[in-house]
Symmetry: C2
Subunit: 672 residues, 2 copies
C-alpha cells in the first residue's frame, strides 16, 4: 500500500499520525538540527499506542499507576515531544516545540528526565532506555507484590531502534527481563533497517526475533504503518498471553513520506530541508502551516490525552480506601525513612564499643543487616558477586518470578544492565535500589552510572575490592584510576570510608539523598576501627580531623579508606620523632568541597607539610595538596603511578611503597 | 560415565588431562588464592585441543602463523599456565607455577599479556577475551587476503565461560563475528552451569545455542569430559563446513573430580583445601606429589608441544621464498613506517600555507587521506558514525566477507566491541587499527580501552564531538569528565589538538607508538589554523608556547583543542590592554609531564597569572595551575562545573562562560 491508499483506508488515524510527523519535521527544520526520520517512521505505532493502549492522563503526568513510556531511541525526541504537546501535557507548549534544542527550552536534543513531565528517563546513549525499562518493570512487579494490584498494575512500553539492540547493554537487559519473566514489559522495535552509516546489513545480520526468543521473550510482528495491524499486535502484546516480556517488531520506513529521503540514512540525523518538507506534507495531505495543528485534530488528540482520567480517579479512590495508604504515599514519594537515623546511630555506638577489625565491605553488610529490616524500600542486588560484595542480608528474600516480594536481585554478570536497571527502579518509584560489583568494573557500568548522575537519581553503588588491596587477582581487577573517574563525574558522591563508623555514615547519607547517586568504594581487606566518636555524621563534612596533632601540626596526613590506617601509623611514628602530626580522613571529596572556607581551612591549615595517601592515582588529590592554601614545595603523595600487580595485598603495599614508613620518609624530606 | 570409567576408557588422555588438574589444584593451594574449578572442568577440552587441533610450536611462541588461543574466562589462568608448562614453553618453568600469584612471577592471577609468551591477550574482565578474539580473527582474514594463505592461515580458539556470555560485550562480539563470517573463529563454551552466586539459572535462562545461531554462528555441542566426543566436535568445528564462526558447547562439570565441591560454586574461586585435593587426586588416580609431573606424562606433553615444528619450518620456508617477505616482516613486527614522517611533514606545510578553518575531526580525515595510501597497515573503522567521525577515506574499501582486502570496518553500534576488536587486531599483528565514536561514548568502550592501556597496545581512538561544542545533541552526548578519565588512566596518551597542524602531529605520534594507546579528542565545530610553524613536532612536547607575550609574560593562558582559539582571542584583548600574555597550547598533558623541569618551567614560568581554558571539568588541570610553581592566588580555570545542555554551540559557550571575555576578566581579577 502506498501512502495515498493508507490515508484513504484510515483517515482518522492518518490525521493524528500526520500531526506528529509535521511537528517533528517543523521543529527539526527550525532548529536546523535533529532527527526527523525516526518520529516520521514511528508516528503510526506511537499513535496507536497512545490512542488505544497506553494508560496515562495528560493532566496528571506523575500519576503513579500510569503505564511508563520509554523512548529508548532518544534521538527521536520529537516523537515524544509531539505526543506530549498533542495529548495536552501542560508543560509542553507549542513555544517549547518551536524552541526545540534551544537554550532554556525543555525540548532538549535528547529527552532529559527532569526537564519535562512525561519523559520517564533520559535517553540518547543507545540501549540505555531498554535497559532502564527493565528496572521499571522490576519495580512495578515488586510494588504490586507489596501493595496489591489495586495500587500498582501497569505496563512499561519501550520504543527501541536497531542501535539500541546492537549495543551490548541490550543483551544484558533482555536476558535479565526474560529470566525475570517481566510480562508487563513490551518493547516496540522500530525495525527500519537503517543506521547512521547506511543499511543495517552493513554491520549486522542478527535475527532479532530469534535472539529475543532465545532469552525468553515472546515475539510478535506488525506492519508499522498499518494502524489495524499495529493495534492487533499491541493488543496481543498487552494481553499477557503468557508470562514472558514481549518484543513487537514494527516494520517501518524511516522518514516515511519524504519522497527523496525515506528509507535511507539521509532521513536520520539532519533536517529534511524546506523543499522536502513541502513534498512530505503533500504526501500526508497536511495543509497547515508549520507549527499549526488544525483544531479538530488537536481536539482528537486532547481526547486521547484525557482517556485515562476515569481510570486514574478510580485508582485514587482505591488508594484512599487502602489501609496502607500512608506507607504507600511515603514509598512512592521517594522520601527517606525516619527509621534510618536511629538505626545508624545505634550501629555506630556498637562499633565504638566493639571496635571490629573488618573489611569495609563487611562493614557495609553490617549496615545493611540493620537497615534492610527497617527500610522496606531497599532493593538490593549484585552482578554475581554476592558473597564478595556482601550485599545480601538474610531478611531480603530473592526476587524471582515466583517470589516478587523478594528484595534481592541476582542481576547476573551484567554490571551495565544492573546499573541501568537500578536507574529504572528509582525512576519507577517505590524503592531505593543498591547493587554491587567490584570497583574496577565501574568501567563496565559507566554508561548507566553517568545517567544516574545526569538524572540525579540517588541509587547506591556498592563497589568492593577497591584497590590493590584485593591482592592476587591482579591489575585487571585493581582499580587505580576509578576513584578519579567517579570524582570527576559531576553530581556523584564518592565515598571511601575507613571503618565501620564511616561506612555507616556513608550509607546514612546515601539513603537520605534525593538527587545524587552514591558510590561506596569498599575494601576487601580487614581494617581497624579508627573513629573514636560516634555522634555527629563527620563523613557528611567530607573530611575531618581524625587524629589531632600533639601540638600545632607541622604535618597533615590525608587519606581515605584502607590507607587511613597507614596514615595513623605514620602519625604515630612522626609524633614519636617529635613531629606534631594530624590525620585527616577524607571519606568524600565532594562533600568537603561543599563546606565553607572556614571549615576547610580549619581542617587543612596553611603552612604545614601535606601528604595524601591513597592507593590510586594522584589526579583528584592535587586540589587538596596544592590548592586550599597548600604549596607544591611542602606537598607529597603516596599512591599509585601505574597499574597494579598480582601478589598478596601486603606485598603489593610494600612494593608500591604505600606504607607508613614511606609517608614518614616523605614528611621528613618535605620538612627539610 | 563416572570418572573411574572415563579413566579406563581413555587412559592416555586421562593422564594428560590429570596433569593440568593436578597443577591447577596445587598452584591455587600454594597461593592460597585462585580459581581451581575452571581448569579442572575444562582440562579435557584443553587437552584435546592442544593434542590434536591447535597449531603451535612451544619452542617458537611468537610464530606468526600459529593458531591463537584465548582464555576468555581468565580467572582459570592455571589452565593456560599448566598448558604452557607442560607443552614446554621455556618461560613457564615449574618455579613460575609454584609462584602462582606472587610478586614478580609471570603467573599472575589472571593471564597478563606481555608477562609470558603464549598468553595472547590479557583476560579477566569477563567478555573481553571473546571480543578481542574477534579482532584477531578479523586481522587473520585481512592478512590472508593481503599476503596469501601461504603466509597467513590459522584459527583463533577461545575458551569462554557463562560469565563471558552474559556480559553485554559478548553480544557485540558475536554479532560482529557472525556478520563478518569469521569462519576461523571457534569459541569453546565452558558450559558448566555455575556462576559465582550459584547455578546459572539464578540469573539466566538464555538458550545460548539459539542466541549464537541468531547472530550467524554454527553451533555444535559435546560432552566436555569425553575425549572422543570433544575431538569429534573440534574436528567438525575446524572443518570450515561453512563460512560461519563456530560455537562449541562443551558440557562440563566445574571442579570435576573434587568429590565435595564439583558442580558447585564452591569450586569456583577458592582453594579446594588439602583434604579435598587428596580426594580429587585419588579420583584421578594421580599419585605424584604436588608440582611433580611424572616423566612419561611430561614427555607426552612435550611431544604435543613440538607437534607444530614441521608446519612452522614449512611456513618459514614459504616466507623466505615469498616476494613480499620484507614487507611481510615489517608488517608483522609492528614497526612504524618510514613513509609516515614525510607524509605528515608535507601536510603540515600545506596547512600553514592554506590555513584552513576546519573541525579537527575533518583535520583528522585530512591526515588519514594522506596517510592511509602510504601505510597499508592502517585498518580503520567507526561504531556507526563514519560520516561524523570522518574516519573513512576513499582508498580503503570496506572490509566484508566478500572483500577481505577492504581496510574499513563498519563496526556497528558497538563501541565496546570495536575497542576490544582493535586490541585483538593489534595483538594478532599486521595492522594498526583505529576506530571512531563520539568522545562521550568512551564510557561504553571503557572496559576495553583500559585493557589497551594495561597491555600497552598502540591502537588509536578517534573520538570526535569532544565537548559542549557539539551543541544541540545535549548533555548525554557532551563529554565533560571524559578528558579527566582518559588522563587519569595510566599509559594512555590523550591528545586534544587545536588545529590541523596539531592533529597531524598527534597522528604522527599515535602511529609511531609501540606501547601506548592514543585517544584523539576532536572537535565537531570548525577551528582556525593557529600554528605558525611546521617544522618540529611540538605536540610531542605535550605543551608549548603557541603565542609569545609582547614582553615578559604577566599572564599565561593554557588551553587545548577548541579552546585554544579562545585563549588566543583573550590574549589579543589582554595585550591590547597592555598586559603581556602568553598562550600555551597543551595538546597532551602526559607528554608534557614527560619533559624535563627546565623545559616545563620555560613554558610555564613561575610568578605569573595562570588560567586554563578547557570545556571540561577542572580536575586534571590542578597540577598545571597549582603545581609546576603555580599558585592558588594567581590561578583560574575557565571550564565546566557540571553537565552540559542542549543548544547551539556558540550559545553554550556563552552561557557556560567559556569565552575570551571571561578569561580576560579572570586574568584582570587575578592580576588584582
Amino acid at each position: 500500500m502506498d501512502i495515498a491508499e493508507r490515508r484513504k483506508a484510515n483517515p482518522d488515524h492518518w490525521r493524528l499520525a500526520s500531526a506528529i510527523r509535521a511537528l517533528s519535521m517543523d521543529a527539526v527544520e527550525a532548529a536546523n538540527s535533529g532527527h526527523p526520520g525516526m518520529p516520521m517512521g514511528m508516528a503510526d505505532v506511537a499513535t496507536v499506542l497512545f490512542r488505544n493502549h497506553l494508560k496515562f492522563d495528560a493532566s496528571a503526568p506523575n500519576w503513579f499507576d500510569r503505564d511508563r513510556f520509554v523512548l529508548s531511541a532518544g534521538h527521536g525526541s520529537m516523537l515524544i515531544y509531539s505526543l506530549l504537546h498533542l495529548t495536552g501535557y501542560e508543560q509542553m507548549s507549542m513555544d517549547q516545540i518551536r524552541n526545540f534544542r534551544q537554550w532554556g527550552a525543555i525540548t532538549a536534543g535528547h529527552p532529559e528526565y527532569g526537564h519535562v513531565e512525561g519523559v520517564e528517563t533520559t535517553t540518547g546513549p543507545l540501549g540505555q532506555g531498554i535497559a532502564t525499562s527493565v528496572g521499571m518493570a522490576i519495580a512495578e512487579e515488586a510494588m504490586r507484590a507489596q501493595f496489591g494490584a489495586d495500587l500498582c498494575n501497569h505496563k512499561t512500553w519501550v520504543i527501541a531502534g536497531d542501535g539500541c539492540l546492537m549495543e551490548g547493554i541490550s543483551q544484558e537487559a533482555i536476558a535479565l527481563a526474560g529470566h525475570q519473566k517481566l510480562k508487563n514489559l513490551i518493547v516496540l522495535w522500530d525495525n527500519n533497517d537503517i543506521t547512521i552509516d547506511g543499511r543495517v546489513s552493513l554491520s549486522d545480520n542478527t535475527d532479532q526475533m530469534k535472539r529475543f526468543e532465545a532469552s525468553g521473550w515472546r515475539v510478535l510482528a506488525c506492519d508499522g504503518h498499518d494502524a489495524a495491524d499495529i493495534d492487533r499486535a499491541l493488543t496481543d502484546a498487552a494481553s499477557g498471553a503468557d508470562d514472558r516480556p514481549v518484543l513487537v517488531s514494527c516494520k517501518t520506513i524511516i522518514g516515511y513520506g519524504s519522497p527523496k529521503k525515506q528509507d535511507s540514512s539521509g532521513a536520520h540525523g539532519s533536517p529534511l530541508g524546506a523543499e522536502e518538507i513541502v513534498a512530505a506534507r503533500a504526501a500526508y495531505g497536511w495543509e497547515s502551516p508549520a507549527f499549526i495543528i488544525p483544531e479538530h485534530i488537536l481536539s482528537d488528540w486532547r481526547a486521547i490525552g484525557a482517556r485515562g482520567k476515569s481510570a486514574r480517579e478510580a485508582w485514587n479512590a482505591r488508594v484512599d480506601a487502602s489501609a496502607n495508604r500512608e506507607e504507600f504515599a511515603r514509598r512512592i514519594s521517594g522520601e527517606g525513612s525516619d527509621r534510618l537515623a536511629p538505626t545508624i546511630a545505634a550501629l555506630k555506638e556498637q562499633a565504638l564499643s566493639s571496635k571490629p577489625k573488618i573489611a569495609t565491605r563487611r562493614a557495609s553488610e553490617m549496615v545493611l543487616e540493620v537497615v534492610n529490616p527497617e527500610l522496606p524500600e531497599t532493593l538490593g542486588g549484585s552482578a554475581d558477586l554476592t558473597g564478595s560484595n556482601n550485599t545480601k542480608t538474610k531478611d531480603l528474600g530473592i526476587f524471582t518470578p515466583e517470589n516478587r516480594t523478594g528484595r534481592y536481585i541476582h542481576y547476573g554478570i551484567r554490571e551495565h544492565g544492573m546499573a541501568a536497571a537500578m536507574n529504572g527502579i528509582w525512576l519507577h518509584g517505590g524503592f531505593r535500589p543498591y547493587g554491587g560489583t567490584f570497583m574496577c568494573f565501574t568501567d563496565y557500568a559507566r554508561g548507566a552510572m553517568r545517567l544516574s548522575a545526569l538524572m540525579g537519581l540517588p541509587v547506591v553503588y556498592v563497589m568492593t575490592h577497591d584497590s590493590i588491596g584485593l591482592g592476587e587477582d591482579g591489575p585487571t581487577h585493581q582499580p587505580v584510576e576509578h576513584l578519579a573517574i567517579c570524582r570527576a563525574t559531576p553530581n556523584t558522591l564518592t565515598f571511601r570510608p575507613c571503618d565501620l563508623v564511616e561506612t555507616a555514615e556513608a550509607w546514612e547519607i546515601a539513603l537520605s539523598e534525593d538527587s545524587s547517586p552514591s558510590i561506596l568504594a569498599l575494601s576487601r581487606q580487614n581494617l581497624p576501627t579508627l573513629r573514636e566518636t560516634a555522634g555527629e555524621n563527620l563523613t557528611a563534612k567530607g573530611a575531618y580531623v581524625l587524629r589531632e596533632a600533639s601540638d600545632t601540626a607541622k604535618v597533615v596526613l590525608m587519606a581515605t579508606g584502607s590507607e587511613v590506617e597507614i596514615a595513623v601509623a605514620a602519625r604515630d611514628q612522626l609524633e614519636a620523632q617529635g613531629v606534631p602530626t594530624r590525620v585527616v580522613s577524607v571519606p568524600s571529596m565532594e562533600l568537603f568541597r561543599d563546606q565553607d572556607v572556614a571549615y576547610r581551612s580549619s581542617v587543612l591549615p596553611a603552612n604545614t607539610v601535606r601528604i595524601a595517601i591513597e592507593a590510586a592515582v594522584r589526579q583528584p588529590w592535587e586540589w587538596l595538596l596544592l590548592g586550599e592554601r597548600g604549596r607544591e614545595e611542602t606537598s607529597g603523595f603516596i599512591g599509585m603511578t601505574g597499574f597494579g600487580a598480582s601478589a598478596p595485598a601486603p606485598t603489593l603495599y610494600k612494593e608500591f611503597g604505600i606504607t607508613a614508613e614511606a609517608a614518614v620518609a616523605e614528611a621528613r624530606r618535605l620538612l627539610g
